[in-house]
Amino acid sequence: MSAVTATISEDEMGARTKPATPDEGARLGFRLTLPAQILVLFISAFPLLMQLYISVTDWSPLSGIGWWNAWEMWNSFANYTDLAADTRFWSALQRTAIVMLVCVPAEFLLGLALATLFADDFPGKRIFYSILLMPMMVVPAVAGYMFFMLFQSGGPVNDILSRIVGTPVTIAWLSDPNLALIAVMVADIWQWTPLMFLILLAGLVGVPEDQMKAATLLGADAWQRFTTIVLPKMKTIIIIALAIRVIENFKIFDTLYIMTGGGPGVATETISVYIYKVTTQDLIWGYGAAIALAILIVLSIVAVYAMKRMAKAREVPA
């Protein structure tokens, strides 16, 4: 036994630090990474626990006691029962879902179309590529101001529309309860299609060219190649792209808040805007925490589902 161990440790690199048994190795590894693990655990778990704690109280920064003493203001889950009956919460949630259901598919389809276009060479490709990625690099708050100005009733959007129609158009985009949401969605699509494009392009260029050629030789036309080779090969990356955008879009805030502030009235009030108002304007922190926690649970379900789909996409043939 000892002779065997000796030959192995002499042959392998870093033989001296090699532990005698795998068990010991695992224990050593655990001890070495323990500080980092505690830090990570603290960073991710602490705010969550704090939020959970506050969400079952009536605590706010104006209560005059530290948050750790919030138990004095325990309200027997009243925040959660209120939440269930809060129509403003439910309509915000519905609005958020609508924005997501419009924006993410739009970004996906536009991104996929652009990626397909950019998978082939054409003159000026590099320049277009750079221009296309620019929206993603704009600070969302700045993008918010840009679209705020674009959608003014005397702004460029109406100006262009006037030229097309021929008569002056003076649509009050941001103060019309129905149109404001559209304007907000346009801004989101403008800003985040590039990310979708970038991820999908990476997936698209990863599709083996010879398999595409083989499919062509076997008589598949462009659409058949797309559905039978390209899409199945991109499945994992499509799930990743969609999951990223679903989660991000659900939290839509900065651009929107600058453009409309959630208004007119509550016409563009999404979940994030509602939480922001509840905590910073109404100062009911306990309630805000309860809403945020509910959203976290919803998003976690999305994330878990996406990861399961991803694992499945890799294992089972299409």
């Binding site: 010879d210 050629k213 083989a214 499919a215 030789l217 076997l218 039978t228 199945p232 090969k233």
Partner: protein, 361 residues
Amino acid sequence: MSAIHLQNLVKKFGDFTALKTMDLEIADSEFMALLGPSGCGKSTTMNMIAGMEEPTSGKILFGERDMAGVPMGRRGVGFVFQNYAIFTHMTVRQNLAYGPRMRGAAKAEIDRRVGAIAEMLQLSPLLGHKADRLSVNILQRVAIGRSAIMEPAIFLLDEPLSNVDAAFRAVMRTELKQLQRQFRQTMVYVTHDQLEAMTMADRIAVMDHGVLQQVGTPLEVYNNPANVFVARFIGAPGMNLLKGRPAESDRGLVIDLGPLGVTPPLPDELATALRTVRGDVLYGFRPEQVTLAERGLSMPVSFVERIGARTIVHLGEGEGAVKAVFENGVGLSVGQAAVVAPPASSVRVFDAATGLAVRAG
């Protein structure tokens, strides 16, 4: 099944000429190997036959039919890629069924054809397996089956064995040859490995720098190379070529090899042909045909390579270097002088100026 005619085929990529005026007739059910070093234009030729590249000029005919403008999906060509290009996200069954499915065949029809092909290629037990975890010989069979199910008139194979390790290549070669006998399709096989070309092909087209050098059966190409390139390229090691000048002697026409001395007299027919050549010639003979003799070329041994039963003896240096292959060990060691003589019938002579073989008759 169909013959392939390549007529005045030219392919240019910008300023670079990949293929210079190629004419080649590939007969129905023939196994033709396109053999040459990388960049010789063999893959370009194949891609043009498949329709992946458009010829700059010239014609490709399948039988009587001109292929100009016919897209690759409609040429009735089966193509086996270098790495097989198996659809890894599908099962073996889905791979085999791909062609008929894309052509909109009925499900029962697809099942019947997949079943038949799988049976023929012994893939039946593997139909449900996902294609990304198969061994190379299975991949080769799937690749061939996937094309064969379309019943193509022509099969094109692009160096299918180049990613396979040497030991397995022999197995794959045998299998491939058997498959060709089974299907009886016209096969065009691109390779840079002469062993593959020699063992499998009915005829070999040797190419270099976009020029077709010689077309012939493996033995023709080996025994009667048309020019210096073919002589050096075919055979392992290639033909020995020694520079010299024809000279008359009392025993007949010989070649004066300068410091190496004078060769044995050439056979009469070759001598007759050689008398028309002016200037230097190359005296060629196969390393395998060299024998140790009493009289002949005396050269010092510079290196001895033992490869199992075979022994390669390197003789002389520089321009006058010669290799000799012996099937058994020979008692030669470095520094020793060896007297070698190729049998007169195996001698080939090339015109040094043009590189072309001087043919008897």
